[in-house]
């Protein structure tokens, strides 16, 4: 049997931080959460907020259709070649956690075909509160819940609510209509998450997705700040040109 080292080779299979040519690859941010909490709407809003300054791509993981990718295409938040749908065989959490190979390929193909990219958003199919992304697939993860899904969700915790790098409590504009206690949700979230950030969001008014976009920009600054050499300006400009469609 041929086994070389006790550590595996990340560049062969997983989220190695550098590309084959030695440059730093795009930051990968996962968005997960229950069905209907607003993941796709948040991805669309993030694309609109970030696309003018960054080279972006999106991978969607639909449960049994290509609805989410179709929505993003219809909304024209990015050119179609920057959006890829992964099919998940009825198990969205498997595709983002236990067997990430199809998602890794989608991300790598996007880098090859429309790169260089600054940021790839990987949207999970709507799932349950235990669904989290593998660290082999994404660098940062956002968990999206909404006030209408029950204000006891932060109290219930679970891996998504407790450990995601950012928790979004979405649709705050609906709180008065569904009787959700936002202060209670914030208190419960703090209890579950300690110092990890929580963003209360409504995409129906100002400031909309902007606080979350700021959080993403800060993660990206950390990511690129850790790179040995920033990408030269002309190459960046060329990468952005494809976004104006």
């Amino acid at each position: 049997m041929h086994l070389d080292h006790s550590t595996t080779y990340p560049e062969r299979h997983s989220a190695s931080a550098v590309r084959a040519d030695g440059s730093r690859r795009a930051l990968r941010v996962g968005l997960g959460g229950p069905v209907g909490s607003g993941k796709t709407a948040t991805v669309a809003a993030l694309c609109r907020a970030l696309r003018d300054r960054l080279s972006l791509a999106v991978v969607t993981n639909d449960i049994y259709t290509r609805e989410d990718a179709a929505f993003l295409l219809r909304e024209a938040v990015l050119p179609p070649e920057r959006i890829t749908a992964v099919e998940t065989g009825a198990c969205p959490h498997t595709a983002i956690r236990d067997d990430i190979s199809a998602n890794l390929e989608a991300v790598e193909d996007l880098e090859d075909e429309v790169g260089p990219l600054d940021l790839v958003l990987v949207e999970s199919g709507g799932d349950n509160l235990t669904a989290t992304f593998s660290k082999g697939l994404v660098d940062e993860q956002i968990f999206v819940i909404d006030v209408a899904g029950g204000d006891d969700i932060p109290r219930k915790g679970g891996p998504g609510v407790s450990t995601a790098d950012l928790l979004i409590v979405n649709k705050t504009d609906l709180a008065p209509f569904v009787g959700s206690d936002l202060e209670g949700m914030a208190r419960d979230a703090r209890q579950q998450r300690g110092e990890l950030p929580v963003s209360f969001q409504s995409l129906r008014g100002e400031p909309g997705v902007e606080p979350v976009a700021d959080w993403v920009r800060a993660r990206l600054a950390d990511w690129t700040g850790a790179a040995d050499a920033p990408r030269p300006e002309p190459e960046r400009a060329a990468a952005h040109a494809g976004h104006q469609a």
Partner: protein, 222 residues
């Protein structure tokens, strides 16, 4: 070094992260058409698949594990797969298998095929080469190919029909002698020239794979 049964178990495990979970191997189309509706019809579907597409895949895997040129085998696999949708699926799964295999049993044979077929070689060829890299025998590779040929659809039918998982697993257990037989024949064929490898196929699987690929709404990628 010769690897043993434990290594084969790792390779053949349904949880081996090589993308198989998103595919039904034709079972979704068969369920929709009413051809699979219970344990008995699942058994018939799996037996038919095993002795046709399964035998062809197991022989390709055994030949790759025996050291036959993988590019010649990849071509032979293309020639044996008339449906373009199934060729695409086989290459996609081959690429995913390659990623998992290079992480688990890295070796120059896998590296060379990955470089020659960056978008993926046919999955049974990669499976066979992975088995070789792991120190497994051609017969081991044939067993793994035969098993996954029926375990994939059985798992998918549990999700598609809500079929009792105990019944589905019992179907697999009853197919074990067939799997042994297919693996033995595959290994024997793999000792001969590539052009004489089995070329059995199931026309209905090929036709429904093309139809399934065009469905707007489906649970499985194939």
């Amino acid at each position: 070094m010769r690897a043993g049964a434990a290594t084969l178990l790792v390779l053949a495990d349904g949880r081996f992260p090589a993308g198989g979970h998103a595919h039904s191997s034709g079972a979704e189309a068969a369920v929709k058409a009413g051809r699979i509706r219970d344990a008995a019809s699942l058994h018939r579907f799996c037996a038919g698949r095993l002795h046709t597409a399964g035998l062809t895949a197991a022989a390709l895997a055994a030949a790759a594990a025996a050291g036959t040129d993988p590019l010649a085998l990849d071509e032979a696999a293309d020639a044996r797969t008339s449906s373009p949708a199934l060729r695409r699926t086989a290459r996609r799964l081959g690429r995913q298998m390659m990623r998992a295999a290079r992480a688990t049993w890295p070796g120059p044979g896998l590296d060379a095929l990955a470089a020659a077929r960056p978008k993926g070689a046919h999955q049974p060829v990669v499976l066979g080469l992975a088995a070789r890299s792991a120190g497994l025998t051609p017969l081991d590779a044939a067993h793994a190919a035969a098993y996954e040929n029926v375990s994939g659809p059985a798992t998918a039918v549990v999700r598609l029909l809500g079929l009792d998982p105990f019944d589905a697993t019992a179907v697999l257990a009853r197919l074990a002698p067939d799997m042994e037989e297919v693996a033995r024949r595959a290994e024997e064929a793999a000792r001969g020239p590539v052009e004489d490898l089995p070329a059995a196929s199931a026309p209905l699987l090929e036709i429904t794979a093309e139809q399934h690929a065009a469905w707007p709404v489906r649970l499985f990628a194939s």
